[in-house]
Symmetry: C2
Subunit: 114 residues, 2 copies
């Protein structure tokens, strides 16, 4: 199975595009930390069936990311917003006008890259 | 047919999820401004077939927006970024520290709503 953090991020963005069953399995496995066997028992299917559904769901999520790239875009913008906070927090009061110019430049870059 | 601006926005976000043929028809009709008849002739299909493909494509784009809501989210964030630029452009130099606080608040709101 893929690393949990990555799947969770992809699921946050594209989970609504999965089937109800796929969503349920992903949540039980990755959020609620149930084992394949526990999910299998709950849904009265084989452990292998749960494994295959999870694999297919992960592949679907990654295909959406390949086509839409939202997680990449989101991370990039998140970093820019955090950088703005850092700029604001680290300029001394008398340098505030320079800080504003720097912030404006960062915001313009975000707008232009959209 | 739906209003051009809306379809173009939806297409910018979700176009890559349509089939190649759907993408082609949308581009010819909405960007290149060809008529249904002209597209029909070029692809050797009926005018009705072009119409139906466009309708289905538009419905698909709208379904993705219903599930993912990226256009709404994008517009909201775009407005916030523009508001930051406006704040920066309209504070007098001596009020720069206050402007920075206002900007920080706006950026925090953006981060928290993600």
């Amino acid at each position: 199975m893929k690393e949990i953090h990555k799947i969770n991020l992809l699921y946050d963005f594209y989970g609504s595009l999965l089937t109800e069953r796929q969503q349920k399995f992903i949540e039980l496995y990755y959020s609620d930390d149930l084992s394949l066997g526990e999910i299998a028992e709950q849904f009265e299917v084989t452990r292998q069936a749960v494994h295959d559904t999870l694999k297919r769901s992960e592949q679907t999520l990654e295909n959406y990311e390949k086509k839409l790239g939202l997680v990449t875009k989101f991370n990039k913008e998140y970093n820019s917003l955090e950088e703005i906070i850092t700029v604001i927090d680290n300029y001394p009061r008398e340098k505030a006008p320079e800080a504003l110019n720097k912030v404006k430049k960062l915001v313009r870059e975000m707008l232009d890259s959209r």
